[in-house]
Amino acid sequence: MVPKLILITGRTIKQGEALHKGKDSDEYRQATGFVEMSRADRGRLAPQGWGERGAAQRVRVRTAFGEAELELREGNLPEGMIFVPMGPAANALIGSETRGTGMPDSKGLEAEVEPL
């Protein structure tokens, strides 16, 4: 288990392209169904290695508001930070409290990640 990570969500090019192909398309599911993590955190998450090379690595991401099962990808992120593209998986992790602004906390949430 990696210590508490900071989750940020946001747009990506692939998510922007895929949403025109339909939200039930495979492209959209793939474009929004992953979590990115730094190489160092990914290594810490599975000290024994990730098994078969090239196989999709699945993890469960959990926040105080919900959880999502996602494909793990290595991304150019600082240690301690994870990124999930905006979409149904990100929504499951974000709370609906807006602190009187209308805007949920879509960036900067504490999250845990465990391998599946």
Binding site: G10, G16, A18, T101, G102
Partner: protein
């Protein structure tokens, strides 16, 4: 047929130099767009689509009757979306909200709503993207990622655009990226300041203090060395025309509108030294238009309620996420938006429990859960209309193919007639 100078309606850049090839009423090729714009034009539906009620295809008159009845019978209806439709339709949606005593909110509330709240307390220095292209020699991208979300911004308006006073494009500009992580843009920036998440407010305050000539008794603020911040302040003071473009990295983190208030105060104070301005990187094609149209119709930009017969404004109360998560809306009309795909789960769940009517060209996730689905034409592809660029410049959207579908404006007109009857 080749159609030139088409406006792409996808994002707040509203690139107006697109070339579209059309054969047999289908878009066969698109030139100059980014990949998102290309996907929008090439995947645009041009065939007929029927409205549905409870998943069954019905005639337009039946769908409209059902939709109007659901809204008229509701005690607290919510009208939401608006950012991917034309301002002509936004105006009709406001008229309908007024008639119903409904709440009306746009997708601004989950993107630059905090920006608007900040502007209301601090004021906003403005400029057009044309001024940026021709004059700006210092560009700061703070908490935004144009390489993923506003792909042609650099080439058309900012980093590498060649203008009258910036004839060498990129060489005539200093580019600074402020973000919590490295991005495609940060690798090509002259300066990259990597903040700790949630520290935007502290760093902006430190910049204001340094600008006032204060000495800071710390070595770093929010993960950035004070020497780097002092260097940035000197560059800001000595540039000819500076701009801070900012995005969700500032509005969606803790502090929200307070971050924006601090950013706007810094920019205002920089105008004691030079011309300095700022601009929100608006996401959807006409989200800026939603703010403008709501403001000139009601006096307020988002989070509006008509229950008392006049417009009241209150973010946190009449904003869509709050109204849905607190189960205060008992029916919803969603126009050109997909909150089931983009709202926090609690809010999205309530939306699937109340009667929902969707106006959208796409069968999106919200439409899948809706009682009534009204498929409409696509503004900028199969319907003309007006959209506002991120600098609040209105542009006329062209129609490149014919659509058998009515526009959002027509459908809202029919709905208004039925609610009145």
């Amino acid at each position: 047929m080749r159609i030139e100078n088409v406006v792409c309606p996808f994002c707040g850049c509203l690139c107006d130099d697109i070339v579209v090839e059309v054969e047999d009423n289908r878009v066969t090729a698109v030139k100059k767009t980014c990949s998102s714009g290309r996907s929008l034009f090439l995947n645009a539906h041009t065939g007929a689509a029927h409205p549905t009620v409870d998943g069954k295809e019905v005639a337009w008159s039946e769908a409209m009757d059902t939709a109007a009845r659901l809204l008229a019978d509701s005690a607290s209806p919510l009208i939401y979306g608006l950012s991917s439709t034309a301002s002509e339709a936004q105006r009709k949606a406001i008229a309908l909200a007024d008639l119903l005593g409904a709440s009306i909110d746009s997708t601004s509330s989950v993107c630059h709503g905090p920006t608007t709240i900040g502007i209301q307390s601090q004021g906003e220095p403005t400029c057009t993207l044309g001024e940026v292209k021709h004059r700006a020699d210092l560009l700061i991208f703070w908490g935004c990622n144009p390489a993923e979300a506003h792909i042609r911004h650099f080439a058309r308006y900012s980093v590498s655009a060649r203008g009258k006073l910036t004839p060498q494009g990129r060489k005539d500009r200093t580019v600074v990226v402020v973000d919590v992580r490295p991005t495609r843009r940060s690798r090509n920036a002259d300066i990259f300041l990597q903040l700790r998440p949630g520290c935007d407010y502290e760093v902006l305050t430190a910049l204001r203090a340094l600008l006032k000539g204060e000495t800071l008794d710390v070595t770093e603020v929010g993960g950035v060395g004070v020497a780097q911040l002092a260097d940035l302040v000197e560059r800001m003071k000595s540039c000819r025309f500076g701009v801070i473009f900012f995005g969700m990295g500032v509005t969606q983190t803790g502090g929200k509108y307070l971050n924006i208030t601090e950013l706007l105060a810094l920019v205002a104070e920089l105008n004691d030294y030079t011309r300095f301005t700022t601009m929100a990187m608006r996401g959807h094609g006409n989200v800026a238009g939603a703010d403008c149209t709501l403001t000139w119709q009601t006096g307020y930009p988002f989070a509006i309620n008509f229950a008392r017969g006049y417009p009241q404004y209150n973010p946190g109360e009449f904003t869509a996420v709050d109204m849905l998560a607190r189960q205060e809306a008992d029916a919803a009309l969603i126009i050109a938006s997909d909150p089931v795909a983009h709202f926090p789960r609690l809010a999205a769940q309530w939306l699937s429990q109340i009667p929902t009517i969707v106006l959208d060209p796409e069968a999106n996730l919200t439409a899948r859960e809706a009682r009534v689905v009204l498929p409409t034409a696509i503004y900028g592809v199969s319907a003309v209309g007006t959209a506002y660029r991120m600098d609040n410049v209105p542009l006329p959207l062209k129609k490149v193919v014919d659509s058998p579908q009515p526009t959002d404006e027509q459908v809202l007109d029919w709905m208004i007639e039925r609610v009145k009857a």
